[in-house]
Amino acid sequence: MEYLPNIIFAVILILGIGYFARNVQKLIRNIKLGQDVDVSENKSQRWKNTINIALGQSKLVKRPVSGFLHVIVYVGFIIINIEVLEIIIDGLFGTHRIGQELLPAALYGFLIGTFEVLAVLVLVSVTVFWIRRNVIKIKRFLSSEMKGWPKSDGNIILYFEVVLMGLFLIMNATDTVFQGANSGNVISQFIAPLFNGFSIEALHTVERIAWWLHIVGILTFLNYLYFSKHLHILLAFPNVYYGSVSPKGKFNNLDAVTAEVKLMMDPNADPFAAPPEGAEDEVPAKFGASDVMDLTKVQLLNAYTCTECGRCTSECPANLTGKKLSPRKIMMDTRDRLEEVGKNIDANKGEFKDDGKQLLGDYITNEELWACTTCNACVEACPVSINPLSIIMDMRRYLVMEQSAAPTELNTMMTNIENNGAPWPYNQMDRLNWKDE
């Protein structure tokens, strides 16, 4: 019986981490549904981006208020989680504040003191965040795609932070040994008087409850991530690494098209020639994207990483002038559809069964796609290097090349280019006339 708490702790830990690991596997499987893409070039720039943009949050601080607060919550959260290490060791081996025993008193006091100060800063920032979301009503949190779950998700994580930080401080305040040592209790010494009337046993019980809830809370938080926009805490790093390192104006050239164009332009090519050995079983390439499997792995990673912050949408010229297009919605739709496909695979023993739905049409409409000016404002604004424009482009390609579903005026423009090398119906031979006008 003596070891019961240790065993319970181990079981909770294994369950918590196990369930998380299972979801991570699913996440990786889902991302792998995407097409391969070459990300081997310019590794040094990729690492630089990861350090500056993901770790250094360089894009985030372009909006000083929210950027600064975010840095506090992020740094605070990561550093305070060092404390979890002690909790895990204590929990598994039945020790109490192993750090206090092993580390020099001054160092331990310094560490916990820092954690306590950060905990308060996090509480303050989180409160401001909550006010921004719910009281000040900042426009980018009110768009139509932010109703229901996305809205609750944004608040839930804030409550999580409050509870975890609160528990951490209470745990310290009611720890008589820790308070007795009087080192590092910079904040908790002011909370301790709240428990003045408590007996030693009662204090101990409160301390234990806070301790257990704290670790259970952290494991719950970890598992909550998978269902939340807060996956970005983990995915921002790979996402920024795999983000584009080319000029934003450079759109990829479709290789499948290049192959066909070469064939058409080559006077020696025999269009009726038998396909080369082995080519018969190849599925003919689909041009553009109509569903998540047509997108690349990086685009799917983008979708899981999106923080739903709406910085993209708040800079989008189409959205600012009342059009339906919202680059944030493009990312959220892609993730929702990918999750749906993932669940479908789970339900059908590892194979996707056609569900009569797709990203195009069921989630994203043509109207949204055609409103884009390809201006790259969304790409520039995104703090975690997501490219909503690339998804819009791939879906336009599908509309035009697979369905011939461009707006009529665009078809006219394209016919003109085909016939006379200009988007207007002018004669190619008149191209230099401006010179003499």
């Binding site: 098209v257 553009g288 002038t321 339906k324 790259n376 035009v400 280019i417």
Partner: protein
């Protein structure tokens, strides 16, 4: 124009067995659109004034395919690109200058993958180089103290991070450069990109070019400077819509410099 502008073609150079210093890619708008043709001619005036040894493709130039690509028609884009690359490579073109940021972006970033490797520069960059090397001198104080605001073209600015060249050139005119609230990386699109120029906008509550014109009007400008023929059209229309065309001119940087 009193003096007849000199606009030699690559074919003429070839016939003489010579290579020009640079190819001027005129682009479809610059060749056919009435407003854009004025920009083309202003740039030629600058080239002539600075004694730049340049040539155009003339009737051998075809649409870059850029707008087809942004519309989603990768086939048409690659057909156009491959055709143009064939012509450019046959003339052994090494350097290209253009007044159209869309052509600039497309040839610079998207042609290399299809076999077209060139040094491509935007006309504002070229003008900056001409001034820096002393080949072009600006005399007179035509724009001294005038309030000018510059609208960043998406495909020059955000797409290729060229923010300074147009501004440096404008500063050389002794004008007072006033930035709009949204500028450089956060500049608002004029509304023409991504093939929008050729279609009606989707339903909304405002036209993008009106919103961008309002950004510009906040700076109380005398001149709105542009670096793209499509932006120019959009801003000109916006200024007309606001009934400000009597007080505010929309001019390409080439036009500003040609008169300076």
């Amino acid at each position: 124009m009193s003096e007849e502008p000199k606009v030699p073609t690559m074919a003429e150079y070839m016939a003489e067995g010579k290579q020009p210093e640079i190819l001027f890619w005129v682009g479809s708008a610059g060749s056919y659109d009435d407003r854009a043709k004025k920009i083309t001619k202003a740039f030629v005036k600058i080239l002539n004034k600075a004694n730049v040894d340049f040539a155009v493709l003339g009737t051998e130039e075809s649409n870059t395919g850029d707008v087809a690509k942004r519309a989603g028609n990768e086939f048409l884009f690659q057909m156009q690109a491959v055709m143009n690359i064939e012509v450019l490579n046959a003339y052994e073109v090494k350097r290209i200058v253009t007044c159209d940021p869309h052509s600039f972006n497309c040839i610079k970033n998207e042609y290399p993958g299809l076999g077209g490797h060139y040094e491509v520069i935007h006309h504002t960059q070229f003008i900056e180089q001409l001034i820096a090397s002393g080949r072009l001198t600006l005399d007179g104080d035509v724009y001294k103290g005038k309030r000018i605001t510059f609208h960043d073209p998406c495909y020059l600015g955000r797409a290729n991070s060229v923010y300074d060249a147009p501004r440096d050139v404008l500063k050389k005119t002794n004008a007072t450069l006033i930035e709009m609230k949204r500028h450089k990386g956060t500049a608002l699109c004029c509304g023409a990109g991504g093939a929008q120029m050729f279609k009606d906008a989707e339903p909304g509550n405002k036209e993008i070019n009106i919103l961008r014109t309002e950004d510009a009007l906040e700076t109380k400008p005398e001149i709105i400077a542009t670096g793209c023929p499509y932006c120019n059209t959009m801003m000109t229309d916006g200024v007309k819509f606001k009934e400000k065309e009597a007080e505010i001119k929309v001019m390409d940087i080439a036009e500003l410099i040609a008169n300076a």
